[in-house]
Structure formats: C-alpha cells, structure tokens
C-alpha cells in the first residue's frame, strides 16, 4: 500500500473477496465475490474448467453488456445484494421492484447471467 490510491481487498487469487466485472465499453465494476456468485453464469466463469481466461484473475468480461444504461447495471447489482440478503432467510421477503421501462433489457441481462 503506497498510500496514493485506495486499494480494495484485491481481485486476484483464490481468496479474492472481490471480482471485477468489465462491461463491453471498458467500464469496470468491483463487486463482492459472494454477491456476484448469485449469477450462475459468473459462477461458471469463475470456477469452470479452463475455458474461461477469467480463472486467472477474478475478472469477468461482459462483451454484450454496455454501460450506457446505468439503470440496468444498477438493478443487476441491487439484485445480487437482494439475493444474498434473502436467500435462506426466515423473515418476510419483500419483492424486488423491477421498473417496467427497463424490464425487457433487464430480462436479457438476467437470462445471460442465469439469475
């Protein structure tokens, strides 16, 4: 730690707490690994045998998802947090609100991410 830049726990190695999600136009999101794993696709990309280069550093490239629809990306991140919070929870689960205007694009992203 050289004090110049705040660094997070790190996205490399098997004990990495965070993963980096890189969208098609280069925007990067650093998300807690536990949350990102709620997506079946990301889970497969991070742990599957060899085919995905992502296994080396915990980075996942999404060549199909651009960042120009911030609401969609935001909704995806919120969804990850929602799932981690309420999976196996005994408390009443409030419904995650999906705004109708972005529902179709969000569905495409959810389909791709299998979540």
């Amino acid at each position: 730690m050289d004090g110049e830049k705040k660094t997070y726990g790190g996205c490399e190695g098997p004990d990495a707490l965070y993963v980096k999600l890189i969208l098609s136009d280069g925007h990067e999101f650093i998300v807690k690994k536990e949350r990102a794993l709620t997506s079946g696709t990301i889970k497969a990309m991070l742990s599957g045998p060899g085919q995905f280069a992502e296994k080396e550093a915990d980075e996942v490239h999404f060549r199909e998802i651009p960042s120009h629809v911030p609401s969609k990306v935001y909704a995806l991140c919120m969804c990850f947090m929602y799932k981690v919070r309420y999976t196996n929870s005994s408390t009443e689960i409030p419904e995650f609100p999906v705004v109708p205007e972005i529902a179709l694009e969000l569905l495409m992203a959810a389909n791709f991410l299998d979540c």
Binding site: L76, C79, K83, Y86, T87, E92, I93, E95, F96, V98, V99, P100, A103, L104, L106, L107, M108, A110, N111, L113, C115
Partner: protein, 399 residues
C-alpha cells in the same frame, strides 16, 4: 411439506338449526394482509386482525409435526369483529385498500380511483343479497339486491375503483358500483347453470367466470361483453384464479383436473391431474378427487389446490406433479396470505387452518417476466424483437 401452523374452530357449539349450516365456504385475506375473514357457518363471519395473536399459535410451531397441532377454541382478541349476516354466507371479498404509491399508478390507467378511506368486506348470501360491511367497525354499510339465488362468489377490481362483481346460482354475474351506493350497473347473462366463481385479472382488464355446464367464460371489464369461452373441462368448474401478472388463468373442476390457460389466446397450457397418492387404492374412487379450490401464490410460482380426496396440494408452476401434500378433511376453500408464506383453508365443519407455504426467492428472470406481463398481452410479447426462447419464457410456454 406444509406444516399446520394453527387451527381455529368456532366458539360456542350451535344447536342444529335447519336454517343454517356450519360450512366455511369462503376464506379471505385483505389485500394489505391486515385482516382475515372467515365465514364460520351459522350465518356468522369473523373478521380477525392479522397476524394472529400469540394465544392462537402453538409455541415453537416449527418443531411440531402435523399430528400434534395445538387447537384453541373460544375467546378471540378484542379487535375481532363478528358479522351476523342472518343467512348462510357463501362468498366473501375484501375491497383493495391501495397504499399511496400504487394509487398514483392506478390513477394513470383508471381515472376513477375514489377518495375512499375505508376497507370493506362484501358477503354473498343464501337468498341472493350482498351485504357490504365496514371492516374497522363491523358496521353494515349497504345491502345490494338483484340476484335471485345464492351469491356464490365475489370479486372487487384490484385497482381500488370499488367496482364489485358477483357470481350467482341464478346463472348471472352482476356488476355493482359502490361509489354510487351500490348501484347495479350491468347484468352478465350467458351461463346455463349455477355460476360457481368469478375472478378479476390483476390488471383489471378481464373477468373470468365458471359454471356448472363445464364452461369458463372470459369477459372484458371495460365493455362488460363476452370475449371468449374456454372449453375443456368435463364437469362443473368451481374455482378460478389469475396469476399475479394476469398472464395465466387456472380453473378447477369436479372432473379432478386443474387446467392452466393463456387468457389472451384461450390456449390450454397444462392440465394438473389430481390422482390417488397411493396407487394401491381402488381406482374406481377417482371421482373423489373432485377439486374444490385453486389459487396462485402471490409471487406467481406456486398453486395450492384443495380436493375431495382429503389433500391440500402445492404445485410448482413448471412441474407436472405436486411438490407437497398435507392431509385435510372436508376442505372447501383455500387462499394465500398476500405477502406469501401462509395458506389458509376452510372446511365443511366451519374450521379454518393455516399452513406454511413454500418460501421462494424469485429469480430476476421471473421478476422481469412478472413486470413485463403485468402490462403486455401474449400477442404484444410475440411481436417483440427478441429471440424465440425468450418469447417462450415470457408467455409461460417453457414447460
């Protein structure tokens, strides 16, 4: 497996009275989940605040098995209301009580959301009358006359516009406007036998009714005209329900089947057969699996059915066989708690039971589908520029 959480029985046992019967024909939760209504036979309806007070729930119910259910009779909470309807009560329906955000949403599509602040319960009676009660106080507000025979089922429009639909053994359905002192605004004729049930789609566009002559009718809630007839059942159709996004309709019949339909196209998507659990039993008793009631879970992924073979069944949307069973004798009706987690059932002896319902976290895909289908018809989905597999998913064809 659904666990029995609690069972309520009517308080004082009544002398046999030829004018009344003890069946619980209907049970209902208010849409905001704060009240439970139970027609407990002998012309009485109990309004119970939800959640139930401590005294009704056995301690540590998670650990109890079905056989050691704790029963309690007698004294209810002081906030309970008892409605003496004077005749056998067949149908029950709460009005919606929209919370401020959804009122704005509905006002966009339905300009006549009234400025009403009270929650009401409609009760359908033996001689065709409908009594409207104010829930908070238990006071009788209105008496609607018109039907000539038992009012078997009632349904309010989910938008909160205080339009009430009633279904009767006089073979008609009637539309009432509670904003105009219960004025009867339409009579829907066409059924040939007793109308057993009615249900309005959550988007308020369609009304489903089903009757003794085996047919299911779909009516437009905008023009009050018949859209189509759904044929397929082999006996009286006694219960119907729409999915929360209005994309699916399920109907239950004495023919032992539940049929799932696409209400926009009239296509049959699926039949759920209620056969004997134990195959060693005599096949000739298959008629005792007559269905009594079917309902969707609030997130739209499960169905609960009550049948004459003494079983409450839970079905997952995409599977052909039930995922869970619970024994219940003389079951007549069922309904889910609006926020999920609990199913209420009513029986011939006037008892109600509360069961644990499967708790599931909807996938993001399903949440998106629900959001989209809440305003898109099947035809609009088919016209979208998306892959075929996605259309199949959105139209619930992926079984």
């Amino acid at each position: 497996e659904p666990l029995l959480l609690a069972e309520l029985k009517p308080g004082r046992p009544h002398q046999f009275d030829w004018k009344s019967s003890c069946e619980t024909w209907s049970v209902a939760f208010s849409p905001d989940g704060s009240w439970f209504a139970w027609s407990q036979g002998h012309c009485i309806v109990k309004l119970i605040p939800w959640p139930l007070e401590e005294q009704f729930i056995p301690k540590g119910f998670e650990a109890k098995s079905r056989s050691s259910k704790n029963e309690t009779k007698g004294r209810g909470s002081p906030k309970e209301k008892t409605l003496d309807c004077g005749q056998i009560v067949w149908g029950l329906a709460f009005s919606p009580w929209p919370s401020p955000p959804s009122r704005k949403l509905w006002a966009r599509h339905h300009p006549q959301v009234p400025d009403v602040s009270c929650l009401v319960l409609a009760t359908g009676l033996n001689d065709g009358q409908i009594k409207i009660w104010e829930v908070q106080t238990g006071l009788l507000l209105l008496n609607l006359s018109g039907h000539q025979d038992v009012v078997r089922d009632l349904s309010f429009t989910p938008s909160g516009s205080l339009i009430l639909v009633s279904a009767s053994r006089d073979k008609t359905l009637r539309i009432w406007d509670l904003n105009k002192h219960g004025k009867q605004i339409q009579v829907l004729s066409g059924h040939l036998q007793w109308v057993y049930c009615c249900s309005i789609s959550p988007d308020c566009s369609m009304l489903c009714s089903a009757a003794g002559e085996k047919s299911v009718f779909l009516w437009s809630m905008r023009s009050y005209t018949l859209i189509r007839k759904l044929e397929g059942h082999q006996s009286s159709v006694v219960s119907c329900d729409f999915s929360p996004d209005s994309a699916l309709l399920v109907t239950a019949s004495y023919d032992t089947n539940v049929i799932m339909w696409d209400p926009y196209t009239g296509e049959r998507l699926r039949s759920l057969h209620h056969t004997q659990v134990d195959p060693a039993m005599d096949d000739s008793d298959v008629h005792i699996s007559s269905l009594r009631s079917v309902c969707f879970s609030p997130e739209g992924l499960y169905l609960a059915t009550v049948a004459d073979d003494r079983l409450l069944r839970i079905w997952a949307l995409e599977l052909k066989t039930p995922i869970a069973f619970a024994p219940m004798t003389n079951g007549l009706c069922c309904t889910f708690f609006p926020h999920g987690g609990v199913i209420a059932t009513g029986t011939r002896d006037g008892h109600v039971q509360f069961w644990t319902a499967p708790r599931v976290l909807s996938s993001l895909k399903h949440l998106c589908r629900k959001a989209l289908r809440s305003f898109l018809t099947t035809y609009q989905v088919l016209a979208l520029p998306i892959p075929k597999k996605m259309k199949e998913f959105l139209t619930y064809r992926t079984f």
